[in-house]
């Protein structure tokens, strides 16, 4: 027989981006240990709906740990306590009867809250649009096996490409930096011959976009890869900084010196990085 439990849930409620939010407490009975965390929230929402209260909004889609939609800080940890596990793959057998669980949205300047646990992560897409690709149009005619790629490199590329774009790394970082996310894309492409040509420009553009979006700088806390549900290695950030041929401290400095959009002092000379980005077109 499966066990059931009664839980106390403390959940961040916020009607919209412009209204202040607060933590609210809910008691939930009859939670089955085999439920997923999101199924537990479904049960809460059904109850709230029946009682005429506003259910809790949260993002989710695949519920298989691959789409990167689900995004909640559970007891202070993005995606909750289980290592390498997204919130949707967390199951209630992790908890016991009588537990209190707090649930909050990702918190970062670049992720404004839309409602309750739902945030706007469009900034991550814009980082990719700035350079996270190989510039190749549809219709290439080179045979796929024309360029052999060593298994080790291919496997490492895959390790980085496994990033699901959830943003937990940002939520975990005291500076709300997106270095692991960006580094994962850089790492994926830099490990492959196809990614070589644009290697330098890609990094500069993506890093510039990161700054424009208001993500913070990396100061080596390493919380990001701890929280990452795909366990993306912190080496990704190393790869990112080394791809610009500048040591990490320099890159961080360069990044700090980047002007914010619309706030650049016209008398100040453009930073070298900005100039390089412009020359790249």
């Amino acid at each position: 027989m499966s066990k059931t439990m009664t839980l106390t849930l403390q959940i961040w409620r916020q009607r919209s981006a412009n209204t202040p939010g607060s933590m609210q407490t809910y008691k939930l009975e009859g939670v089955n240990e085999h439920m997923s965390f999101l199924e537990m929230l479904d049960v809460l929402n059904a109850k709230l709906t029946k009682e005429g209260q506003d259910p809790v909004a949260f993002d989710h889609d695949c519920r298989e740990g691959i789409c990167g939609s689900c995004s909640m800080v559970i007891d202070g940890r993005p995606h909750g306590p289980r290592k390498g596990t997204t919130a949707c793959q967390l199951h209630m057998r992790t908890y016991k009867d009588g537990d209190t669980i707090t649930i909050e949205p990702w918190r970062a300047k670049a992720f404004p809250v839309i409602k309750d646990l739902v945030v706007d992560r469009g900034s991550l897409d814009r980082i990719v649009a700035a350079g996270g690709f190989v510039s190749v149009n549809t219709g290439v005619t080179v045979d796929a096996n024309a360029t052999p790629i060593g298994k080790k490199n291919a496997d490492e590329a895959m390790d980085y490409a496994a990033c699901i774009g959830c943003g937990a790394c940002v939520a975990a970082c005291p500076n709300a930096a997106a270095m692991l996310f960006t580094g994962a894309k850089v790492g994926h492409l830099v490990k492959l011959p196809q990614g070589q040509v644009e290697r330098r420009g890609r990094v500069l553009r993506m890093v510039e976009q990161m700054d424009l979006e208001g993500f913070g700088a990396c100061t080596n806390h390493r919380e990001c890869s701890e929280a990452c549900p795909k366990e993306i290695s912190f080496d990704a950030i190393e790869l990112l900084t080394s791809s610009t041929c500048a040591p990490r401290s320099r890159t961080t400095d360069l990044r700090r010196s980047l002007p914010q959009r619309g706030r650049r002092d016209p008398r100040r000379p453009r930073s070298r990085l900005r100039l390089e980005v412009q020359q790249l077109g």
Binding site: M35, A57, D59, C62, E64, I66, P148, A161, L192
Partner: protein, 637 residues
């Protein structure tokens, strides 16, 4: 309804080449004068939007998730087929074509399938050029596996995350075009109606899911790549948001819906554990390469699997299908599992499961090799069930997975409404009554990268498209209709949640229109569904307001469509008095329980035409001709 598929003349090998030559072209300088609306950013939509923008068209692109990268394609695990014959094991374009037609139980259009097999090889080249990290051998060349009952190794894969990697390739190409300003991306926008002006698709209506704003968009062509409708069953392996709304609303505007009852039930999913269950998780089919499926020989055997000796186990797939064994196609494997559970030999707490056992594989290959091949799947299984598949056999059961039916399209992927093109799982074209493993990813990318960029030009070059704006009365009329539905849903303020209605519908669909169907049962369903629908419209509880993020309002609209569409599926299943592929009518089977096709009477695509609310849909038929593959009974024995 005009169902001329416009298949080019000539021998099958040359049709596509010839057609490409004969198609009208849009002058490169003129392309930027056209605006194309692409709905959906899965493999089909993202590849189409990116490729069209590269050619110079202006594209507006929509998806309901918060990012185009989260489309349901991301979840595909196993792989993508291509007739590269890198393994020198006898594969060819012709063999992939043949396997797909046969696997689809002779209910697909030959010419389309042949083109798909031809294009498959270009897809792999394209993806590798984008940086898709496919699995490789130590020599650095691409690795392949055999998949889903194929007897050659033609499946390319990226660990257990092939869909993710292919989608990220397409998504990155799309983001590149967004960065260049050629595509305008509207995430968290849901299409709620199609705008048809003078019989031509000219626009769509969307709701902004953050602000609730409903607005019209106009363009020169509309491309729907909105995925499959497996969620009509409530429980399926599809992502929670997958739905039929875009297709169904286009259907109500005149697009023919083909073979709605053709549903694929995947044999290897994690069984249902309780009534709170919100979705089912697929365990990749590749597991059947090394796992052995069995149940106890005896009914009601409650011993733990380890305690059941070898000679008291029934490896029923190996027994019934000695040459294909555990690798029979999905429909066959699913029905066989249902049959043993119906006999009372199912396992696990619900008795609705069979074992998938890796004991032999671990002994034969060692735990390391098994972990290398399936490690991430085993972990996923352990996370969900709390059991360790290295030690105890997995429990699996079939679940709804894919829908072969979809909007009818011609050879150019255009629906019965001129200007409305349909790609990917949303169309009906290539898989007949049963899709082979690793062929959906192939089809989505073929449609998006390599077919629509040509055929849409052919359409635009010939279409006479008067200039219109969003102020056009038809746009305003559609807009008013969408707003009225929203107001109505929010105004009911009933007592039953949207999910409760969805579950109820899902159970009816599963019981009567699932793995086994009978005329009698389908008639019951056809009575029950309108009854649930009536209750929905008087008692559904939709909390919140329109002018905010409101997931329950979104869902209510989707379930409202499922409640109409489910009826169409049952009608289609009732009309088709034969068994073929995923459509198994219990009245039509051989003495051994295999599907019994009726080629004399049912060798056609059933294309349904909407005739108005409360009026019976009209059935039209596109006859299928098999000139290259000889009609034969599928046999996997």
């Amino acid at each position: 309804m005009d169902l001329n598929a416009k298949i080019p003349d000539g021998p099958i090998e040359g049709k596509w080449d010839r057609h490409r030559f004969e198609m009208k072209l849009v002058n490169p300088a003129n392309k930027r004068k056209y605006n194309i609306l692409v709905v959906g950013t899965g493999l089909a939509g993202a590849s189409a939007a990116a490729s069209l923008a590269e050619l110079g068209y202006n594209v507006d692109c929509f998806c309901f998730q918060d990012s185009p990268r989260r489309a349901h394609s991301i979840a595909a695990q196993g792989g993508i087929n291509a007739a590269k014959n890198y393994q020198n094991d006898g594969d060819s374009i012709y063999r992939l074509f043949y396997d797909t037609v046969k696997g689809g139980d002779f209910r697909a259009r030959e010419a389309n399938v042949y083109r798909l097999a031809q294009i498959s090889v270009n897809i792999i080249d394209q993806c590798v050029a984008q940086g898709v990290p496919f699995a490789r051998e130590y020599g650095g060349l691409l690795s392949n596996r055999s998949f889903g009952g194929a007897q050659v190794s033609r499946t390319f894969y990226a660990r257990g995350q092939t869909g993710q990697q292919l989608l990220l390739g397409a998504y990155q190409a799309l983001e590149r075009q967004i960065g260049l300003g050629k595509v305008k991306m509207y995430a968290r926008h849901e299409m709620l109606d199609l705008v048809v002006i003078d019989g031509v698709a000219r626009g769509i209506i969307t709701r902004n899911l953050v602000t609730g704003e409903t607005r019209g968009w106009v363009g020169d062509a509309v491309v729907l790549a909105t995925g499959g409708y497996g969620n009509v069953f409530y429980l399926s392996t599809n992502a929670k948001g997958s739905n039929v709304t875009a297709s169904y609303r286009a259907h109500k505007r005149g697009a023919g819906f083909a073979n709605p009852c053709f549903t694929q039930i995947h044999p290897t999913c994690i069984p249902v554990s309780g009534d709170y269950q919100s979705k089912l998780t697929l365990m990749s089919e590749s597991l059947r390469n090394d796992g052995r499926v069995w149940v106890p020989k005896q009914k009601g055997d409650v011993r733990r699997p380890e305690q059941i000796p070898e000679d008291e186990r029934d490896y029923y797939l190996e027994r019934r299908y000695p040459s294909f064994g555990n690798l029979v196609p999905r429909d066959v494997a699913s029905r066989a599992a249902k049959a043993v559970c119906d006999e009372g030999r199912g396992v696990g707490p619900s008795k609705m499961a069979v074992f998938l056992d890796f004991g032999d594989a671990v002994r034969r290959l060692g735990q390391n090799v098994v972990a290398d091949r399936y490690g991430n799947l085993f972990e996923m299984y352990e996370r969900i069930t709390g059991e360790d598949p290295y030690k105890t056999p997995m429990r699996i059961f079939p679940a709804v997975h894919y829908t072969m039916g979809g909007l009818w399209v011609d050879y150019d992927l255009m629906s019965t409404i001129p200007g409305l093109h349909v790609l990917g799982e949303a169309n009906f074209s290539d898989h007949g009554a049963n899709r082979l493993g690793a062929s959906a990813l192939m089809q989505g990318l073929a449609d998006g990268y390599f077919i629509i960029p040509y055929t849409i030009g052919n359409y635009l070059a010939q279409a006479k498209l008067p200039k219109i704006t969003v102020d056009h009365p038809e746009v305003q009329r559609s807009l008013a209709g969408v707003r009225a539905q929203t107001t109505r849903l929010l105004g009911i303020k009933g007592r039953t949640t949207v999910d409760e209605f969805h579950r109820e519908l899902g159970l009816v669909m599963w019981d009567y229109c699932g793995m086994g169907r009978t005329a009698e049962g389908l008639k019951v369903a056809l009575q029950k569904i309108p009854e649930i629908r009536a209750r929905f419209w008087s008692d559904v509880a939709v909390p919140g307001a329109n002018e905010e993020l409101n997931p329950w309002l979104e869902k209510a609209g989707r379930v409202a469509d499922f409640l109409e569409f489910g009826e169409l599926m049952c009608l289609d299943a009732l009309e088709r008095n034969e068994s073929c592929g995923g459509h198994f009518r219990e009245e039509f089977q051989t003495p051994d329980g295999e599907a019994l096709r009726d080629d004399a009477n049912y060798s056609y695509a059933a294309v349904w035409e909407y005739t108005g609310e409360g009026s019976a849909p009209r059935l039209n038929k596109e006859p299928l001709e098999f000139k290259n593959v000889k009609l034969a009974t599928r046999s996997y024995a």
